[in-house]
Symmetry: C2
Subunit: 347 residues, 2 copies
DNA sequence: GTGAAAGCGCTAACAC
DNA sequence: GTGTTAGCGCTTTCAC
């Protein structure tokens, strides 16, 4: 920890509740009462206080308030990443509802699922006097953070697959993946290949749904192809797919990977969807603009964030009722999938 | 404001510094000394304290600490948006450096530049006992927030164009836009059209740089075309461009708009860059994957965030030296721009 | 080096 | 309704 000299200029003469009380000629608790609405204050005094507050541009100190009331108005978000589309949207959703309810949002990134890294992030977060913590359980760091998190304050997870450890808002990706895979089978494909993004657990919902659809239909379950979160990793995978004549349909773990895969396929001289169908997952803002426009699943991450915050509010209030909010995202049919080519599919 | 009953379970029996002091058999200030390193503590006592801290899993309360020391360890970010690529990256950069320096990051979104909205966001932020505030001055809400912000704590802006109001980290988009426009002129285009994203001020740096390059070269300065932040707005603009025979080169305010514009042009049956050259700005993660791969400017937003946090640290320390950090982003040449078509350009 | 005492800005508990 | 008295969990004097 570095030590630094601090200028004590503006911060030093903060306007306090005592200044307001003095100007309004009332006691400090009376000011507090009009601030919190915790008890009735006579109209004359209330108006005097309000005038004083306005005149002094007084803003109560959240730190002091949290300390004294033991009811902090801060929600922390823990996430493995913040700049990826789905993460950023989920954070935006949480922030939006939180702000509307008078809460502030704090963010901590967990860079990896390394124990020490996770522990440090948790420590930094928990030192913060929080009303609650929302964990983005989308990837290994998020899962690790949730697992190591002490339950000192309410915890809510945002996730693609339900588990029972804590209250959570989920987008049911398993069901959606199943539906999307069935859509491809219905188009006439003998089977569907799967390009997976880094799993948040032993197996993520998209992979599970895909496998279930194939099993239910009695189809071959091809070997899973792996990509990273980087869309460019999809290009190499796409090139490999183009080279193997038995692939006619590909379900990618997210839209960005699908874009990379399509790029790899078209660079190899094949067409999507004429030669190979490719579908994604997420409905990324650029999915409709891609060539061809991507058939995908519309995951509303911002709403996921809002639903998560609602659960959090219930937790904070101690209403042990709703512990779970699930939503099944719709398949969005565009042009990147079609009936299989007659010249491919012969393994 | 809603009032809710609070369960007083876990939060009630927080481990405090007093518990640590008791277990280690030292006074409370001594524990504080080992925590902050503010004064020397004998080795025996220090080790006893450290053992007690570990045993009790003690975590100091940031709220209490901020209150007592008047040196909060929280940085607030105010932004007009958080989920857009550049914003999300900048936030990630700030968070990364902040976390490394023992600071926590708080986020407030300003939904619009409406006075009341801005005022509310500022009030919510300032109530938070902060070490400083970083404003993302990329759009009208950000600019408005910066303008209305009282200077009670250190303020740093992240921006594309320098102004002198507060210390700021900037990516010099004016120079980059000029360079990119010159690149198109050098390719042989008579002039360059410009599709603008919503301006952060009377005129943003990209537009200024574009105009300056055209003026310097003595070329026509065409009417500016406007797009929103939504990539789809670019499609209509692209269609219009395809229909007007005098356009041979287009400089778009960002990559996503460029993708929309390209889509509009190709939907009209023309090719990029054969018929019309289109360049973007940002180097979005998908820019290289687009067809054709986008020629653009590589803005490193995450580093912008890190540079901004460095300035903030200097401000907090009261070192009135570096008030400004600028970086000129490089042009990235890919395949979306080429020499002009001979069949177009005749106005 | 170390402890006792005071206080950061606010809310809670209790009288009146 | 309103003021007085106590703290929230920590850091900061200031003695020793």
């Amino acid at each position: 920890m570095t030590h630094i000299e601090v200028r004590n200029d503006a911060a030093a003469n903060r306007v306090t509740i005592a200044d307001v009380a003095a100007l309004a000629d009332v006691s400090v608790p009376t000011v507090s009462r009009v601030l919190t609405g915790a008890a009735k204050v006579s109209r004359v005094r209330r108006e005097r206080v309000e005038r004083a507050i306005a005149e002094l541009s007084f803003r109560p100190s959240a730190a002091a308030r949290a300390l004294a009331s033991r009811r902090p108005q801060v929600i922390a978000i823990i996430a493995g990443d913040t700049s990826q589309y789905g993460y950023a949207e989920a954070i935006r959703g949480v922030e939006e509802s939180a702000r509307a309810s008078g809460y502030t949002v704090m963010i901590t990134v967990v860079e990896s699922n390394d124990d020490a890294v996770v522990e440090k992030a948790i420590a930094a977060t928990l030192s913060q006097s929080l009303a609650g913590i929302i964990v983005l359980k989308f990837d290994p760091p998020g899962v690790a953070a949730l697992a190591q998190m002490p339950h000192e304050v309410p915890i809510v997870a945002l996730s693609g697959v339900r588990d029972t450890s804590v209250p959570q808002a989920v987008i049911d990706e398993t069901r959606a993946a199943e539906e999307l895979t069935n859509y491809l089978l219905d188009l006439g494909h003998a089977t569907v290949h799967h390009v997976r993004v880094p799993a948040s657990r032993r197996e993520d919902g998209r992979t599970t749904g895909w496998r279930r659809a194939l099993r239910t239909a009695g189809r071959d379950v091809p070997v899973i192809l792996d990509a990273t979160w980087d869309p460019h990793s999809g290009v190499a995978v796409g090139a490999g797919i183009a080279a193997s004549r038995d692939v006619t349909a590909v379900f990618c773990g997210n839209d960005e990977i699908a874009m990379g895969v399509i790029r790899g396929i078209t660079d190899a001289g094949l067409s999507v969807p004429e030669d190979i169908s490719v579908v994604g997952f997420d409905d990324h803002p650029l999915a409709a603009l891609w060539s061809p426009p991507l058939t995908t699943v519309d995951q509303d991450f911002a709403r996921l964030g809002r639903r998560g915050f609602s659960l959090m509010l219930a937790e904070i209030a101690g209403e042990a009722t709703r512990k779970y909010s699930s939503e099944r995202p719709p398949v969005v049919v565009r042009q990147s999938a079609a009936a299989p080519s007659r010249t491919r599919g012969g393994a």
